[in-house]
Amino acid sequence: MTTSICKEVEVPNHYSLALAGVPSDGIRDLAPPQQCVLSPSAIPFLKPKLAIKEGDAVQKGAVLFYDKARPTIRYMSPVSGYVSAIEYGPRRVIDAIRIDVNDSLGVVENPAHTEASIQELDRDTIVSLLETGGLWRTLKALPFRAIASSSVVPPSIIVALGDNEPHSPSASSVLAGRDAEIRAGILALKKLAPTVHVVAHRSDTSTQHMLSDLITVHADGDFPSLDPGVILHGIKQTSDDNSAWYVQYQDVIRMGQLLLTGEYPSEIVAVVSGPLVKKPEHIRTIEGVPYKHALAQLPSGNARYLSGGVYTGRLSTREGSLSYSEYAIHVLPERYERELLHFFMPGAQKPSYFRTFVSALLPKKQSEASTNLNGGVRACIACSACPDVCPVGILPQFLAKALYNNDIEGALDLGLLDCAECGLCSHICPSKIELTAIFKEAKQRLYKESMV
């Protein structure tokens, strides 16, 4: 196959923000942590049921907890060790499971396959291998991004080779040396759905070169052009395509590892970045690594810890960790300091989507992110900037107003379920309206209703 027959997805409304703290290319091998921390409460839509209790010994790849509603969705222990603590939050949500690492306990062994033998397996076997191996959870179904249901055959599965949210692991670094694993993973996915869309970014030549026979879609444009929802919006032909599944590419590699070795693959490549991280870099570590282990030193003072990117990540704390399938840690300054008569200042140091600061005339510089809202919350002034950045062609201002009036039908017509939850509309809103959060919450409500 040549690349010329690939589908092209051009994300028209992309908006690139040059954030400082681009991680260096090489991957540093992190020493194994003494303790792993997993957070069931961080997983959307999940009602976790514990399979272990405090003090239990668990093997790497043994079940820690599973979904009450769908018990085949299992979450495995990334290490062998003893459950030292289970921490509960408000309303008895399980905030953290702490496991003290002890390698002498051995690992759970699953059947190992070769690429040829995977080829021979049928769908049900693949499903059960992924379920017992603890990686079925990585398959998500659009539009709600909830964990896929194995009884459904999706129209397609989208695998984006990379993530261009600032700053995510570089796909070419992660994929280097993982040729066999990613191929085995994609082979398994092809058993689950009639089509697997393998997407590479147009600028990522090394990945395109490495997997040229597998890649079917080229994406172009800045973040969020590699988001599965955005890619689906670019390639879908009919409404039937809406329920596509997707998997993060590191999880596809891990699927391949699981099938080829039979061992739960807890090794991940993550990025540590953010203005408060001294040396932004790639690290090779394991799932559940606590921040204080992943970062050489925790910054002092007010800091915001995020698992995942600055647009779509998960709010965490200093005590937090990289939980399941999270591949970035960001530490941002909580900027409480104030500026005198800020709106009279020319703003040479304030990069913006808008041309309202002098920075628009200066050469583009990398900017330091902070968590400050940078303005007061106001009513929508209909500046009409949000549709221009939406990667899936939604009119966010009308969608938000429809939801404000509880007009669910109208919101669905306007494309609520197409929303990729990328956060760009909220990011640029001059009135600081939480557009993305409004859409996310509406989708979650709809999902819960559709489940009943």
């Binding site: 395509d241 647009y311 913006s352 992110a369 303005g375 106001r378 197409d418 001059p430 939480e434």
Partner: protein, 394 residues
């Protein structure tokens, strides 16, 4: 300095916090605090970083873009006054006359308007929006310099309350509050806004028939011309270059097309105003006036034969198009509907000017009319947008 102000606001805040004695005054406190200092609020929900833009910045740039018009307006008020009274035309005395006249109007406009804004913010417990800072300046620039201060106060009151606050404040109004004020004054006090003695401060007995919205002396000449309109205009002292430069009697800030263009360039460079609305409005005006020109004969009104470039510099077409029509809240929200909105403003302006004998100027009414139609225009294009999407429903 900054430390002092911060601690001042901090100590004030102790009295207006929820549960404290003056908690009702919190919106007032917030307005002043956020004027002086940037916010210290941090994001709670994804995305965790936000752009530096805020509504204050947005509004501030509009005010900045109006400053050339304001300064020229102050000059022109004094200049016209001295010209008419036969006084010496030295810059200091001219500016003094202008300042004496315009600054009280500014104080009334900002003072009374913000008073109502604060009051409604306190009653409803929401933040004071920055929108009125722009509206107040717009109102002053569209008023004739001779308007009594009490009338300005009444107009501002009407504009803020009926034009905006009854609908829920800035962002929820469907009419441009500044134009609402102007229209209210125009229809309530025609003697002051379109009589003989109104247009030039201190001037008595100008024998031109003068009308409405925008220092429309030239428009009145054109409307009542018997032979060639351009000849009538030139002989009344309204040459093309004078109209373009703005050295003619009129409302305070809108006579100079040149300085409006300067403001427009600034608004377009900063991206604050919609170029689609502006260009659409110019296209509409050129198209409609050319059409009338083509169809005008010996027997039709001579005004119909006026070429488009005259229409553009006369009255307050430029000011209305650049500052009033582009108000984001009262204009439609989609790119396509902005085109239609702009074009219709241009077309309606010419129709009201040339065909309707009651109002020689049409920009104010054209924009207000299209404000009313803006939601309908958006509705049409939103429906089209929905038809273009591949449905994604459950």
């Amino acid at each position: 300095m900054k430390k002092y102000i911060e601690s001042l606001f901090h100590s004030l805040e102790q009295h207006v916090k929820p549960g404290k004695q003056y908690s009702k005054l919190y919106p007032l406190f917030e307005a002043f605090e956020s004027f002086a200092l940037s916010v210290r609020t941090v994001t709670q929900k994804a995305p965790f970083i936000r752009d530096f833009i805020d509504t204050k910045r947005y509004m501030n740039l509009v005010i900045l873009s109006m400053l050339p018009c304001l300064i020229f307006g102050i000059f022109n008020v004094g200049y016209q006054s001295h010209l008419a009274a036969g006084l010496p035309l030295d810059i200091v005395s001219i500016m003094t006359v202008g300042i004496m006249r315009v600054i009280p109007l500014l104080i009334i406009s900002y003072g009374v308007g913000l008073g109502w804004e604060f009051l409604s913010a306190i009653i409803r417990g929401h933040e004071v929006s920055e929108g009125y800072l722009v509206s107040a300046m717009l109102i002053v620039l569209t008023l004739p310099p001779t308007i009594p201060l009490w009338q300005a106060a009444v107009g501002v009151t009407f504009g803020v309350i009926v034009g905006k606050e009854v609908f829920g404040g800035s962002g929820r109004n469907f009419l441009n509050p500044a134009l609402t004020t102007r229209a209210f004054l125009f229809f309530s006090f025609p003697a002051q806004l379109s009589g003989d003695t109104v247009w030039t401060y201190l001037m008595v007995g100008k024998d031109q028939l003068i009308d409405g919205y925008s220092g429309a002396t030239a428009l009145a000449v054109a409307a009542s011309a018997a032979g060639s309109v351009t000849d009538a205009l030139v002989s009344s002292g309204f040459t093309l270059s004078q109209l373009f430069l703005g050295l003619v009697p009129g409302s305070i800030g809108e006579t100079s097309t040149l300085l409006v263009l300067v403001g427009a360039a600034f608004l377009l460079l900063t991206g604050v105003a919609s170029w689609r609305t502006m260009l659409g409005s110019v296209i509409g005006l050129v198209a409609m006036s050319s059409l009338l020109m083509v169809f005008s004969t010996e027997t039709t009104l001579p005004f119909l034969s006026l070429p488009p470039h005259w229409h553009m510099v006369m009255g307050s077409f430029a000011f209305g198009t650049v500052y009033m029509a582009t108000d984001p809240v009262s204009s439609p929200s989609l790119h396509a509907s902005k085109w239609i909105y702009g074009i219709m403003i241009g077309v309606l302006t010419v129709i009201i000017r040339c065909v309707n004998p009651a109002y020689p100027e049409g920009v104010m009414l054209a924009i207000l009319l299209m404000n009313v139609f803006a939601p309908a225009l958006d509705h049409i294009f939103v429906q089209r947008h929905i038809k273009g999407r591949i449905p994604n429903v459950i």
